[in-house]
Symmetry: C3
Subunit: 283 residues, 3 copies
Amino acid sequence: MDVRVSFAELSKTYDELPMFPVFDIAHYILMILQLRNDAGVGAEALAESNALACWLCGMLSCFGGKIVANFLLGQPVIAAFNSTKHIITATIVWYLMFYSPWDVCYRIISTKLGKLLVYPIKEFSRAKKVASGVAQAAVVYPQGFAVMIIIGAVKGTGSLFIRNVERLLRGVWTPTSNEIMSPSATFKISVTCAFLLTVERMGYIPFPPEQIMFGLTMFIVPYKVSVILLKIGDPYVHVERALRPMLFKKRKRTDGEGQSGKKEATKDQKKKNNDKDSKKKAE
Amino acid sequence: MDVRVSFAELSKTYDELPMFPVFDIAHYILMILQLRNDAGVGAEALAESNALACWLCGMLSCFGGKIVANFLLGQPVIAAFNSTKHIITATIVWYLMFYSPWDVCYRIISTKLGKLLVYPIKEFSRAKKVASGVAQAAVVYPQGFAVMIIIGAVKGTGSLFIRNVERLLRGVWTPTSNEIMSPSATFKISVTCAFLLTVERMGYIPFPPEQIMFGLTMFIVPYKVSVILLKIGDPYVHVERALRPMLFKKRKRTDGEGQSGKKEATKDQKKKNNDKDSKKKAE
Amino acid sequence: MDVRVSFAELSKTYDELPMFPVFDIAHYILMILQLRNDAGVGAEALAESNALACWLCGMLSCFGGKIVANFLLGQPVIAAFNSTKHIITATIVWYLMFYSPWDVCYRIISTKLGKLLVYPIKEFSRAKKVASGVAQAAVVYPQGFAVMIIIGAVKGTGSLFIRNVERLLRGVWTPTSNEIMSPSATFKISVTCAFLLTVERMGYIPFPPEQIMFGLTMFIVPYKVSVILLKIGDPYVHVERALRPMLFKKRKRTDGEGQSGKKEATKDQKKKNNDKDSKKKAE
């Protein structure tokens, strides 16, 4: 059995792995972790004073991808709350992450070791989530190239898009920041994956979808591990830096030559800031 | 005929009472009243300078429960505007409440006597609204325990959930307050009702739904009357105060013992504030 | 052939004119122009630093009417992204308007001559857009008088209603201004058109719909040209000034007579400001 066959077989096994319970639980753990980190000092106060709002924020985080995807496709946004099995599992995870004695669960997951246990499992299943989004969109819009990419990316990046709504529920409103304004590496990876799967569905890639998914996963998991261990940055930054001047180049105005030189400088500085941002966000 | 039979018969009569016109008009009157009180001094200015925005805010308030429930269930949010009969009735109520000569309608309803006339009628029909929400959800998700409770509560508390959107329409944005952050007694009553009706639907309560609804109504109406007359507070506060330390207890951190003592104090103070709030909100 | 017959024939021709490509491209050009003008100095920075957000804002502007109408009718909001033909055309227009060398496209369209070329084409097709909205609503709600007017107006005024969402995507949040708070002449024209078409559909107007549409268009196009050339204001202001005291008159309170006199003065001043606003907005 050569390498090629075993890769095909592994891909098939990967495709057939069920999401529940292992991958879903890893997903819920990370989403609640991110919720607590996002709420910061307010998280503890919220959990004590208003368990209902805290629970709703948790559920929005856990089922964010499904909710946004359903909203865009005109399907019931509440569908995520239909599966009693999933909602109870997510509720248990939420409860343990917020109310465990001495906060033990949260503190274990927050360690580097805890992250190294949970993040790879989550990243391992990301490509499957993207694929489910592309498939969901393809049912409604078999020819909708853009729709498939958007829904795939939304399903893959889950809670990132519902973050602003979820914050609003806690009484925090941050209009100047959203996922589209400063996309994370995770989002860019999901877009790549959704793009490849959509192109494959259109018949332009001679590999079966599960091999694309598995091949990408082979990159995502080690990447995420090195983000946690080595604090490496967003790998897309280099591609963007090369493409941006070609595609979205500075428009030269005759009446603003001097000013434009200054702006160029600010731009470079901004790029540096972006690199720093990408390092933070990638983690 | 013993008490039991007559209760069953009354419940049946209650269940069969039509919502239109009496209960719907009482609902519209209260919603427009709340809108005017919420807008405060701005209400008069809005009514004069921009009748269109004022009317839309009024309709959002009147049909809030239906709009939010439909949104969550993936049904057309504009469906509320389909029934010409309801929209014309609501428009007449809106017009009378905002533009009556010498503001006579608004001033009559605002008196204690006016409230004592309209609030009980509204509260009398709340359980029916909750039941219609649970039934609407059950059609789409026969097994969706959480969905039925959510839609039932949303239908029962109507405009509370659309308040932030409605304010935005008037150019007022209050991100730090919403119904989930500081739930009113009305909302908690609706959740209780939705919960009981859902459990009954699952087959765990040996009473027919109309008896549950009527039994609850027998509590809600006198409660609301005493809120208006005696300014009593949220009855759930006591239950919450008992349950909170058991279920959502303070997590003890070894590194923050001293700090935690201080927080406990702030928490107690917060609770007192909550009690005050509840008094205000219950009205 | 008398005038009447030729008008009927012209109306028929008007009704049968396809939207794509000429009218759609004129629409896209204007929407991107308005987006750049709305973003002001931030537009250039956005286009360079975050092409993805810029593109999404552009698409939201171009397909705003469709997105909002679909949302209200419970149809998929992403449907606008399904037609690859339209999305590619809009993307090309967006690219040219933002990234053309020396910004040549934007600067040509921004001139008075450029506006005189594009605006009339756009206004020429507005009545057709309103009609498509009324028809879309009539399919779902054949008796929904209010629904047809709302959806017709939304389809006709397109991006105006999605502006706040689109701004949010760019990190700009303007809760105190929206289309409902300060409706533009364009919006009022669309409402008029939607109202007439709905009344016709109900059987109360003895003209076929295409003649109503064409008749209105004969007014809108010259009006828009005179707005660009002569800076004339909102023609509805005069009607409103006549109707407002009759329908939405000042409520007299016995306890605020003196105060009310003062308010009257402020009101008059406000009206003057409104007139100024209308001049600005009409353009």
